[in-house]
């Protein structure tokens, strides 16, 4: 839940607003307390829709119908006012998690649970249809789980195309992936009837049993195509229910069973009684936790964070609160309790790097295998979960411990960067715990995602499920970041990345993401200023390597736009990721008069490009963004790499005034100089600790920490970090991008870049 917006009124029609449950194009859903004291979900329609007479009429009619629906599995109607300037509808508030959350956190439901779920949802739809209503948006997020059964929410009350998340397409009412073909094919409101809900029910039940929507996920276009043309993916659905689902998922609405028939087909085969524990134990626990949290709602805070407190630092009331052992102390209980345990289990594949470092480290450190809670069990055997803590003499058992995590690529293509981040984070934690004035100690959980999106998402689910984890630094790769963002958003778990810099990550609406580096679209400003300024280039050749995906597009596209707007000559060239070499592109650049070249791509193909350019005898300025800040580029390109300039959101602390202590500590502990992104990860960790310190002990929650990080300003050794409170992007201040040059077969730091040409 979000706190109320500053623009939200304190109350609507006698309901005191407590927070926002959601918002869409149509209106806002608030959590509110009615005059009688009950908690309700209050949906308020934007006034502009209410000006449409037809809309208001439909709203009134459908509210009247919903009022008549009596089903234990439909969220109860409480009150509504279709005639208010902004019409509203209140239904009972159900504190349970959605089916979507439950499946995301604990995987598909076992057959008995899925059957019970299916029966009750079918009964709910039977009753809804009998009343003359069509839901129109049956999907896992609209099924809440309670201890006694599911609750169907968010009725199609005057649902309009604007009311869906993906209607940037304007094409469909409802949610692609759970839409019947007749909804996709745009037959309008009339084509959508009870069979459309049955189709969606089939999708939901397939999702519940496999963890996947039966027509996949991805772009709207693809989903719509599959729903209309392809057969559903029911792999993993038990045979006894697969046939029923197949009939629900008929392309033609006519042969689909009615909701009543589905309910009958799923009738309990044995005793017919509804088992008290209809959900698996882990999900039951999630439901119970959520219900307990719901019961505690009267204490909900009106605002999530006191920004002043977040920035205040070390003195004042926060210290007194922070040293208390109640409340927050439980966060670290698992760690403290297990403190004496030796690291007995060996980490699984992929964690060797981490293990080696730990084994090489000073003996006074203690490594704690997390055994409590469900995190390890949920993780399966492939990923070892380590809880790590520096136990130096300064740490006191009386201080509470808070857990932060690093999710990094320690075994994949970006492992060098991931390992640098791991080292930076470790040094930050070690240093923090050594401070005698710290009001708490930090525990560190390290997880390797291999840079792989699927593995990254699974890792994020596990970290999100571990309620002791208050913040995560990472991940290393852009692809991993894209995959984990929805997971951390759902858990409102702060995610601070120093490498994932795609602009895309900022516009996904992720509430807990913090991008602690200038985003990729800013790098071209520094490249342009370097080439046209220092290097004296007149016409810049730009190569967008399609093999580098969005990264290449973001660098090359922004650079060409920037030069176009400034009226500066440039020659753009796009190279296929699939066919041919770089020769023709280079010929075209030279023929177009380019006297300098920017390569928007990654290290491996960058080396090939550099060699081809070298063979052509080109000696003009050559530049790239951080995709080439990799020793493998220098190695593979050899002589051809000499002179390349790279703009990157990383500096070399060994050459940076103010980072001497960090560099020395890094050398002492790891017997190596810090690699790029070690110091940035050290600062990201310092940022999290700083924000956490600013919160009173009882307020150190994930949500409050997110707001505190986004609201604070933190001076680290590499840069001063502050963010947009809205989307977590780093404040654009012209700093944070640094230039490197290949010289003598090495990447050498040359200093901070500038986005403008001096003088």
């Amino acid at each position: 839940m979000h706190p109320p917006h500053s623009s939200d009124p304190a109350s609507i029609a006698g309901h005191r607003l407590l927070g926002r449950l959601g918002a869409g194009g149509m209106g806002v859903v608030h959590l509110a307390r009615s005059a009688g004291g009950a908690l309700v979900a209050l949906k308020v329609v934007h006034a502009e829709f209410a000006q449409d007479g037809g809309f208001r009429e439909r709203f009134r009619r459908e509210v009247d119908t919903l009022r008549r629906v009596r089903s234990p599995w439909v969220v109860p109607f409480v009150a509504a006012d279709p005639d208010a300037p902004a019409p509203w509808l209140a239904t009972a508030f159900v504190a349970g998690p959605s089916l979507e959350e439950a499946v995301a956190a604990h995987g598909p439901l076992p057959p008995a649970s899925a059957r019970a779920l299916g029966r009750r949802l079918a009964e709910a739809l039977r009753d809804v249809h009998a009343a003359g209503l069509v839901h129109r948006d049956v999907k896992p997020a609209n099924v809440l789980l309670a201890l006694d059964g599911p609750r169907l929410i968010d009725f199609g009350i005057a649902r309009e195309p604007e009311d869906t998340a993906l209607t940037a397409t304007g094409l469909v009412v409802g949610t692609p992936g759970f839409l019947a073909p007749e909804q996709v094919q745009g037959g309008g409101r009339d084509a959508i009837g009870p069979p459309s809900d049955v189709f969606a029910l089939g999708c939901v039940l397939a999702y519940a049993q496999t963890g996947r929507p039966p027509f996949g996920t991805g772009p709207v276009d693809a989903l719509l195509f599959r729903a209309v043309h392809e057969s559903p993916d029911l792999d993993g659905v038990p045979e006894e229910s697969a046939d029923l689902l197949r009939r629900c998922l008929e392309k033609d609405p006519a042969p689909r069973p009615s909701a009543a028939e589905v309910a009958r087909a799923l009738a309990a085969p044995r005793d017919g009684a509804d088992e008290p524990h209809w959900l698996p134990e882990a999900v039951t626990r999630l439901v119970a936790d959520r219900a307990a949290a719901g019961a505690a709602l009267p204490d909900i805070e009106p605002t999530a964070v006191d920004a002043g407190a977040a920035g205040r630092g070390e003195d004042g009331a926060t210290d007194a609160d922070g040293t208390g052992t109640d409340g927050a102390g439980t966060d670290g209980a698992g760690t403290d309790g297990a403190a004496g345990r030796p690291p007995e289990a060996a980490p699984a594949d992929g964690d060797e790097e981490a293990e080696r470092e730990e084994a090489d480290g000073p003996g006074r450190r203690r490594f704690l295998l997390l055994t409590g809670g469900g995190a390890l069990a949920a993780g399966g055997g492939a990923l070892a979960l380590w809880r790590w803590r520096d136990g130096d003499g300064g740490t006191s058992a009386a201080r509470p411990a808070h857990t932060i995590a690093l999710q990094a690529d320690l075994s994949g293509d970006a492992r060098r960067t991931g390992t640098a981040q791991l080292r930076g984070v470790r040094l930050a934690v070690q240093e923090f715990n050594a401070r005698r004035d710290a009001p708490f100690t930090l525990s560190l959980v390290v997880r390797d995602d291999g840079g792989d999106p699927q593995r990254a998402a699974a890792t994020a689910e596990e970290l999100a499920a571990d309620s002791s984890v208050l913040a995560v630094v990472g991940p290393t790769t852009e692809a991993a970041a894209e995959a984990v963002l929805p997971v951390y958003d759902r858990a409102l778990l702060p995610l601070v990345s120093v490498t994932a810099g795609a602009v895309k990550l900022l516009v996904l609406g992720a509430r807990s993401f913090v991008q602690a580096r200038p985003h990729n679209s800013l790098l071209p400003f520094f490249l342009s200023a370097h080439l046209r300024g220092t290097a004296g280039s007149r016409t810049i050749g730009i190569v967008n390597d399609r093999a580098a995906g969005d990264y290449g597009w973001e660098i090359a596209g922004t650079l060409s736009k920037l030069l176009n707007q400034g009226g500066h000559p440039y020659v753009p060239k796009v190279v296929s990721g699939r066919y041919g070499g770089f020769g023709p592109a280079i010929d075209a650049l030279l023929a177009g008069g380019a006297d300098s070249v920017v390569f928007a791509g990654l290290h491996e193909r960058g080396a090939r490009f550099a060699r081809t350019l070298h063979e052509r005898g080109f000696t003009g300025p050559r530049a790239a963004a951080h995709g080439l800040l990799d020793p493998r580029f220098v190695e593979a390109a050899g002589e051809a790499a000499e002179g390349w300039v790279i703009a990157a959101p990383a500096l070399d602390p060994a050459e940076h005034p103010g980072a001497e202590r960090f560099t020395a500590a890094h050398r002492a502990r790891f017997d190596a100089p810090p690699a790029p992104f070690a110091a940035e990860a050290y600062d990201a960790t310092g940022l999290v600790a700083h924000a956490l310190r600013g919160l009173a002990a009882r307020r150190r929650t994930r949500g409050n920490l997110t707001a505190a990080i986004r609201g604070t300003s933190y001076r680290g050794i590499t840069q001063t970090l502050s963010f947009s409170e809205e989307n977590g992007s780093r404040t654009i201040d012209g700093t944070g991008v640094h230039l490197w040059r290949v010289a003598g077969g090495r990447l050498r730091y040359t200093g901070p870049g500038t986005p403008v040409i001096p003088g």
Partner: protein, 272 residues
């Protein structure tokens, strides 16, 4: 000017908005927490891997025996796939001319102006069909172009997509005919497996269409998509959708691309 103003850094902002609209940036939490977000183990978790060079895989396997070999066969294929006016919707009508000269294709020249030039060697056939939906007295019309191009080789069609991306970098402002311009053009490429798997490759472009009518500039959203399946590209452009009663550009566009792709798969796909 030789010095960028610091404020110019903020010029990157429009790209953010574009990214939101481009389908390649989907799979997002919507902030309300109720959207269909990718779940653990879902196919969509196979996001692009920008930290690694990847050779994208194809999404479409043409049956080599069904590929057109002659210009006549290719033209027949293009005509069978390209949408006719009535296929866009009941009230769509043909523009005059309703179809391009079959011996030509569209080329963007050095001055960022589109014109039709004779087909080059690597192109067997190119058909553009022009339709419009009149919106009523004084309210203009929605104009739609469906273009199908048959290349001799898959590599040739692949190059066409690279050229398309290049054109948006080279000419963010383009003249499509006298009195009609596209401005603020943005593009995004999505090879198979990177945000879509319905085509071997896809490029999506968006901008503002500006038309001068009686000295007034009328603006509307401009949408353009081109999908490649094997050696064939299918493109749809939509402009003029603005105001009440006008369909959404993306809605019109999806209708065309989904159906035309499906036709092409029926006509060229492996039959087994």
């Amino acid at each position: 000017m030789t010095t960028a103003r610091p404020g110019a850094l903020r010029a990157a902002a429009p790209l953010l908005a574009f990214c939101v609209l481009a389908a390649g940036c989907s799979a997002a939490p919507d902030g309300g927490g109720e959207s269909a977000s990718p779940s653990k183990g879902s196919p969509s978790a196979k996001a692009p891997e920008p930290s690694r060079s990847t050779e994208p895989e194809g999404a479409f396997a043409a049956d080599p025996d069904r590929l057109p070999r002659t210009r006549a066969e290719a033209l027949a294929l293009a005509r069978a796939v390209a949408f006719r006016p009535e296929e866009w919707g009941a009230d769509f009508v043909a523009l005059a001319p309703g179809e391009s000269d079959p011996g030509t294709w569209a080329v963007l020249d050095d001055d960022c102006r589109w014109s039709r030039e004779p087909l080059p060697d690597g192109v067997l056939a190119a058909v553009s069909r022009y339709s419009e939906l009149p919106l009523g007295e004084g309210r203009g019309a929605v104009r739609v172009t469906a273009a199908v191009t048959v290349h001799t080789t898959e590599a040739g069609a692949d190059t066409r997509l690279s050229t398309t991306l290049e054109e948006a970098m080279r000419c963010p402002e383009q003249e499509i005919r006298a009195g009609e311009r596209i401005t603020e053009l943005n593009s995004v490429g999505r090879p198979a497996g990177q945000g879509q798997n319905y085509a071997d490759d896809s490029v999506f472009e968006m901008g503002t269409h500006v038309r001068s009518v009686d000295g007034r500039a009328l603006t509307s959203p401009y949408h353009w998509t081109v999908d490649r399946l094997g050696p064939v590209t299918i493109a749809v452009s939509v402009r003029g959708t603005t105001g009440e009663g006008s369909p959404e550009a993306t809605s019109v566009s999806s209708h065309g691309t989904v159906t035309m792709r499906s036709r092409l798969v029926d006509l060229l796909g492996e039959t087994s």
